[in-house]
């Protein structure tokens, strides 16, 4: 290869004229058959599907935990569970849903969809992408290993000190939680970096920043948020582990530490995280709804900016989780006002969706039902959040079932409904087959009714004074009937989820075959085959508008998007790098091939954490050495990638 390779001008081709292009690209991009090939794969579509399947497995685990708890609470004074068992279950339910389901499932969508939406061939850092998945999987297993070792974390997902300190919680369970969270933070951080760079660098030519889909805005915002938020919680958990195992006093009152420091660090992370696990899901709705309303989203710019604004404000409201901790009224007032203000960008989204439906021509498909149902649930979760923004009201509502209602309306309403709708929507792209519509509609109605029957009464239960996190309650406080209704509703909701899983299972085998664009959708992922070939697009598309596939259908629409002709880039794995704002092509990006190094590094890393957990320093040292070796193997220069050449800087 010559030095000029780096300066080469990419060939422009028309794949329709040359059938050999597809074959050649297939050979370059396909994952080798067999399980070694699968373990080494860096294909964003495989990784995305793995994220989706794994996070749904955790959703089911968390759901089973909830199902047992709801049996315990169905009647007063039951003894199905001991207090200790109940406390482990509610803790692991929260940990599972918030950390092992809610964000990873959205990472699954984004991993699968981003390069397709952006007209690229893979994420910016494919190996980092694989690494991010493996670390997520292993940290989930690490956290769940607490059950077989005899005791799961039992101090709540919020894990307040001093209850989680060694004095009150001497078991290994809290160490598992602390170290597991630090490990998971590695996955989240590298995943976020990957999304950010992918957005900045690998959009198709012409896809300027004001043409990217809202899902991309949502995931980008969440990723930037995570970069700032995750260090706070990783630090907090690491400090807790040091307190517990090395006699530090960060949180220990007797040594001059501060229990409230934990709460500040945790919620500085925790509140932005809440937005990180809803903004991409709101993006799914903003992108899906227009397809079924047959018109572009109303107020694209406003919705995109509201997404970003929500996250920026989201860093200024963490104290509303701490209104009852005795902080001075002035700071409470500030955070209270900020919590009211953050409702405004959410209102932008709601009215944009309403206007899109109103001015469009809605088609009542299953995804539409989920997206439209989401709007109602979103509003209920929003107004209950608005009530807790008022300090004097919140000090009554906080730590009651009202907040349990609120957070489930937010997390199930704003995450699960769009996710299930999104899976119905993109299932043909994931698998090449459509999901069954009839079963899908049954799924929606059962989930929607079950959800509201199961969670709405929790608002009333909260104002009737039932505290959260109690393993049982007395009769005669007015809580018994509502709790029974809640349990029945929760089981109906679970039945809806079961129907959904059955539909997925059946559709994988018998679903109607889908063409490239079964919904007549507007964005680039619908321009390629279902499921897409390993190289995504035979040539890099050119984008001329926000809705490239609708250009020919909308009167008066200008735009010159094309997927028929573009950069070929077939000298090994390559994609085009473009400029940040206007997406002008400026570099050929050479992409790394499949490798076992990300998996090996993840294994070394999890062994390193096991070494820390059991305080076996030789194991820690060996794992550290192994992880260095895996990193060297990962980064070993490859001629294929142009990493061994001397490039003249002229």
């Amino acid at each position: 290869m010559a030095n000029t390779d780096a300066l080469r001008v990419p060939v422009v081709a028309r794949p329709a004229d040359d059938p050999s292009i597809a074959l050649r690209l297939q050979r370059i991009w396909e994952t080798r058959a067999g399980w070694i090939g699968a373990l080494a794969s860096v294909d964003h579509k495989s990784i995305g599907k793995r994220y989706l399947v794994t996070s749904f497995a955790f959703l089911i685990l968390g759901g089973l935990e909830a199902a047992v708890m709801r049996l315990q609470l169905a009647q007063p004074n039951q003894a199905l569970l001991t207090p200790e068992q109940y406390n482990q279950l509610f803790t692991m339910h929260g940990v599972t849903m918030i950390f092992l389901y809610a964000l990873p499932v959205l990472s699954g969508f984004s991993n699968f969809l981003w390069p397709l939406l952006l007209g690229s061939r893979d994420m910016a850092f494919p190996r980092l992408n694989a690494f991010s998945y493996w670390v997520f999987l292993f940290s989930g297993i690490f956290l769940y290993a607490s059950f077989p070792v005899g005791r799961a974390p039992d101090a709540g997902w919020f894990n307040y000190v001093p209850y989680s300190s060694l004095a009150y919680n001497p078991g290994i369970n809290i160490d598992l939680y602390a170290l597991g969270m630090v490990l998971l933070g590695v996955s989240t951080t590298v995943g976020s970096i990957n999304f950010i760079v992918t957005l900045i660098r690998t959009r198709a030519p012409g896809m300027s920043i004001n043409r990217v889909p809202i899902l991309v805005w949502g995931t980008l915002t969440a990723s930037v948020g995570n970069i700032f938020a995750v260090p706070a919680v990783s630090l907090a958990f690491f400090m807790l582990w040091m307190d517990r195992r090395f006699g530090m006093h960060f949180f220990d009152v007797t040594g001059g530490g501060q229990p409230l420091l934990w709460q500040h660090l945790f919620w500085m992370f925790g509140h932005p995280w809440v937005y990180a696990i809803v903004l991409p899901a709101m993006g799914i709705v903003s992108d899906g709804l227009p397809t079924f309303c047959r018109r572009p989203l109303v107020g694209y710019t406003a919705v995109a900016l509201a997404t970003v604004t929500t996250m920026v404000l989201g860093f200024g409201v963490w104290v509303h989780h701490m209104f009852a901790t005795g902080l001075p009224p002035l700071s409470l007032s500030f955070f209270s006002a900020a919590s009211f203000v953050i409702v405004i960008p959410s209102a932008v989204g709601v009215f944009a969706w309403l206007a899109t439906i109103w001015t469009g021509r809605p088609q009542f498909t299953t995804p539409f039902l989920f997206f439209a149902g989401f709007v109602i649930v979103f509003v209920i979760g929003g107004v209950s959040g608005f009530m807790t923004a008022a300090v004097p009201v919140d000090v009554q509502l906080t730590d009651t079932y009202f907040v349990v209602a609120h957070l489930h309306y937010v997390l199930i309403g704003i995450n699960v409904f769009p996710v299930v709708g999104g899976i119905h929507y993109w299932f043909p792209k994931f698998t090449g087959r459509l999901m069954n519509e009839r079963l899908g509609k049954w799924t929606f109605w059962i989930m929607f009714i079950g959800f509201n029957v199961g969670f709405f009464p929790m608002h009333i239960l909260g104002v009737l004074g039932m505290p959260r996190r109690v393993y049982t309650y007395s009769d005669g406080l007015g809580w018994s009937t509502l709790n029974l209704v809640i349990t029945l509703g929760a089981y109906l909701f679970a039945f809806g989820v079961l129907l959904f899983l059955i539909n997925v299972w059946r559709s994988l085998r018998q679903g109607e075959r889908a063409g490239a664009n079964p919904w007549n959708g507007p964005s680039l992922e619908w321009a390629t085959a279902s499921p897409p070939p390993p190289y995504n697009f035979a040539v890099i598309p050119t984008v001329g508008s926000r809705y490239p596939l609708w250009e020919s259908q909308m009167t008066g629409q200008t735009g010159e998007s094309t997927t028929a002709e573009g950069f070929l880039l077939d000298d090994g794995r390559e994609t085009i790098g473009t400029s940040v704002l206007d997406a002008v092509p400026d570099v050929i990006l050479r992409m790394p091939g499949d490798s076992l190094a990300p998996l090996l590094l993840s294994i070394a890393l999890v062994v390193l954490f096991i070494g820390m957990l059991v305080q076996s320093w030789w194991l820690f040292g060996a794992a550290l050495a192994a992880s260095l070796l895996a990193t060297i193997a990962w980064l070993w220069p490859e001629a294929r990638l142009g990493q061994t050449m001397d490039i003249a800087h002229e």
Binding site: P259, G299, A337, A355, F364, V375, F386, M387, Q396, T398
Partner: protein
């Protein structure tokens, strides 16, 4: 127990469509509060709840109308045509504009309410409340040392007077919460949080720990009894007395058994029992419940609690004592003299 004439309660029953509230307002419900530390917040809460319900109803109606008004059968060729991006922006301008005005209004109302529920400068009484896993110790402060006394899990206050509450924790974080009188205040080790209560009507108000604190967080209740000034004065006088010496032989044996088995943790003023790890039992029989609100204070429950506390409240710091039958009944006899 308390008057239920409030029109708000009726409104609540109507809104929630619930026969649940029909008979009596449940003890922990703060749909209606009974003192100035809670009332302004309750009014604000109702205001925000009504705004919330209106918003949900309006949005739901608009959504249904939007979805149904131009629906076409999917067979109709017009159904799939793509429309241009026009119209719709007034929805954002009006919707977001109205939302912003309402939100700012609510924020201002909130600030006024924060000021309204702030602690008055003058209080008549200061209580030092210490939370522990899983019970409450309450010390009545006084400038005269012989008027200081300690009780557990049941607080008496004079009706209509502001009471200052200073909160300390013996172990982990708890939260002090008497919903019908005021919102929560967390009890955090290493700092003294201060809150206040005032009951405008005589009655018994239930409270419960509001922050997850471990195995028996569910059973960490307490009661606040608001007495008329006369009743309160009598109650204080009674509490200040030391325990009466046992009058009967059985009670005297019981005192011995109590001192042998229970005094390491429990105190009874006027005797050798001076433990501080568990509730002060000097006037145990004046309380309505035992084990932090878990059970009504009856001889049967008391016996069951002493015989096997772990069965009733698993994880409780009250150990299984394995008293002989004789010691158990003697102790019980003695405890019942502690009026």
């Amino acid at each position: 127990m308390k008057p239920m004439t409030s029109s708000r309660v009726a409104a609540a029953a109507a809104l929630c469509g619930a026969p649940l509230l029909a008979d009596a307002e449940p003890a922990m419900s703060y749909l209606h509060t009974f003192g100035p530390a809670g009332d302004p917040a309750t009014r604000l809460g109702w205001g925000l709840a009504i705004i919330s319900i209106v918003v949900v109803v309006v949005i739901t109606v608009l959504l249904l109308a939007a979805a149904l008004r131009r629906r076409l059968p999917s067979a109709d060729p017009r159904a799939l045509a793509v429309h241009r991006d026009e119209g719709g922006m007034p929805w954002l301008y009006i919707g977001v504009g109205v939302s912003t005005v309402v939100l700012v209004g609510c924020a201002v109302w909130t600030m006024f309410t924060v000021a309204a529920v702030a602690m008055p400068t003058q209080t008549v009484l200061t209580l030092q409340v210490t939370a522990a896993q899983w019970w409450w110790s309450v010390r009545y402060e006084s400038s005269e040392p012989d008027r200081i006394f300690t009780i557990a899990n049941e607080i008496h206050i004079p009706v209509g007077r502001p009471v200052r509450i200073e909160l300390a924790s013996q172990d982990v974080i708890h939260s002090f919460w008497i919903p019908q009188l005021a919102g929560k205040m967390d009890v955090i080790p290493g700092q003294t949080n201060v809150t206040w209560l005032q009951a405008d009507q005589p009655g018994t108000y239930r409270g419960q720990c509001g922050e997850y604190c471990g195995a028996q967080h569910a059973h960490m209740a307490m009661y606040v009894v608001a007495d008329t000034p006369q009743d309160y004065a009598i109650w204080v006088r009674d509490q200040l007395r030391d325990a009466a010496a046992p009058a009967s032989e059985a009670a005297r044996l019981g005192e011995q058994a109590f001192t042998a088995h229970c005094a390491a943790c429990h105190a009874v003023r006027g005797t050798d029992a001076g433990g501080i790890l568990g509730p002060d039992l000097t006037h145990l029989m004046s309380r309505h419940t035992i084990a932090a609100g878990l059970l009504p204070n009856t001889p049967g429950n008391l016996a069951a609690w002493i015989a096997d506390s772990q069965a009733l409240k698993p994880g409780s710091r009250m150990p299984a004592l394995a008293l002989s039958g004789r010691d158990l009944s003697a102790t019980l006899t003695y405890l019942q003299t502690l009026h």
